[in-house]
């Protein structure tokens, strides 16, 4: 877990400012960005996985029932999944404050 940049001293940086922890950007919460979020009517879900394919964030995961839903920690609320879902499982609604 990397600490906030503002706490790094020059000694904390790796040689050449190389980052040696692959994928550590995953700790950044992009979910704060959204103004709308996906809601699901899973009864209609045919588990095709297209929403997972089309998510630019790659934050759609398969739940225990085998249906696909977005991880709210990352979901930016673009609405692509709602638009592309062939059986209209997903509806975008306003994000509450």
């Amino acid at each position: 877990m990397t600490k906030p940049e503002g706490e790094y001293t020059w000694k904390d940086l790796e040689v050449g400012a190389i980052v040696t922890e692959p994928g550590n950007a995953a700790q950044y919460k992009t979910g704060d960005w959204r103004s709308q979020k996906p809601t699901y009517d899973f009864a209609k879900c045919i588990k095709c996985g297209l929403c997972q394919i089309y998510c630019p964030e790659g934050c759609v995961v398969q739940n225990d029932e085998g249906c696909f839903e977005a991880d709210m920690f990352y979901c930016k609320g673009c609405g692509i999944c709602a638009r592309e879902c062939p059986t209209r499982v997903i509806t975008m609604v306003e994000e509450e404050e």
């Binding site: 940049e5 503002g6 790094y8 001293t9 020059w10 000694k11 904390d12 940086l13 790796e14 040689v15 050449g16 400012a17 190389i18 980052v19 040696t20 692959p22």
Partner: protein
Amino acid sequence: MVKKVGIEVSVAIGEAVRLANADVVAAYPITPQTHIVEHLAELVADGDLDAAYIPVESEHSAMSACLGSAAAGARTFTATAGQGLELMHEVLYVASSMRLPVVMAVANRALSSPLSVWGDHSDVMAVRDTGWIQIFTENGQEVVDNVLCAFKIAEDRKVLLPVMIHLDGFHLSHVIEPIVFPEQEAVDKFLPINNFPFALHPAKPVTMGDFAPPIIYPEAKWAQEVNLRASKEVILRTWQEFGQAFGRHYSPVESYKTEGARVLLLTMGSFSETAMTVIDKLQGEGRKVGLVRLRLWRPFPFEELRQAVKGAETLIVVDRALSFGGPGGPVCSEVRSALYGQDKKPKVVSFVAGLGGRDITPAGFETIINRGIAIAQKGSANEFEIFGVRGADAEL
């Protein structure tokens, strides 16, 4: 038994790279470096150097390919001159800040315009701030020796910085000199494989070249500065090891007949040897004039310089480059700056001479010394003296 051969210095550089068993050479030809890259191509073509030779389409791509190669962990070499050094300017900063151990020979060349393929230090003075370790050489043997040292220094785990070896274009690159080549076995012992610890490889993925907003950029830059300064220790140690292994010793600042000298001349590069003949002559006449040569240019050898000029009353610096509209001689301005804080310091006089390959003869150096002494005593209206330019030089 070591052999001494008469060989063109450019070709000798190729031989040094062969001895160092470089893995990748990515270079673009430019006068007066062409013989270096041509000979390297021959060595690779004949299988004498087991390396990938990438004939890139520009110097910018030459240094960029070197970045990729060094980042992958390969021992990487290139060479350039003049305009080529300027074309790769932005890439130089990346090589040093990303701590990639690239070794580059620069056949110092004047900069356009007008176009000049001949030797002076304009190209190198324009890259002072790029964060590379930079070493000057005066003759062919020094070039070969320092190319070998460069790989060792660059790859040292405590350094991991790119190194430039400077040699005067034409004055040094194209002359045939007597050079002793160490035996391959001895070189292998001096310069073993030293794998880059962060090499790009799927087994251990790293990310190189993040962007840094203001909150963290200065920290990254300071780390770079600290490490460049700290590299001096490794440079000294490497020269010491080289001396022990091969019998030739190098120092950051070389002094020539400076004991008791009240007047000192300071030069860099091959015309130092011309200056030496003048020093010999003047000392033969009973004059107390000595010569100081800067070999280590970056990191700047502050302590060694201050020590070398201690006791002198006059220090005449001869630059082979001109910083327009500024202090004139770049080396002189750095020397002045290094001495500024000293309680006792010589009067420093700045001369700019030999631009665009114009020769400075021994007589020329003698004139410079005499004029320098006069200026130190009487002062001058000029920030610096331009030597040998028709119409500007009162004596011409």
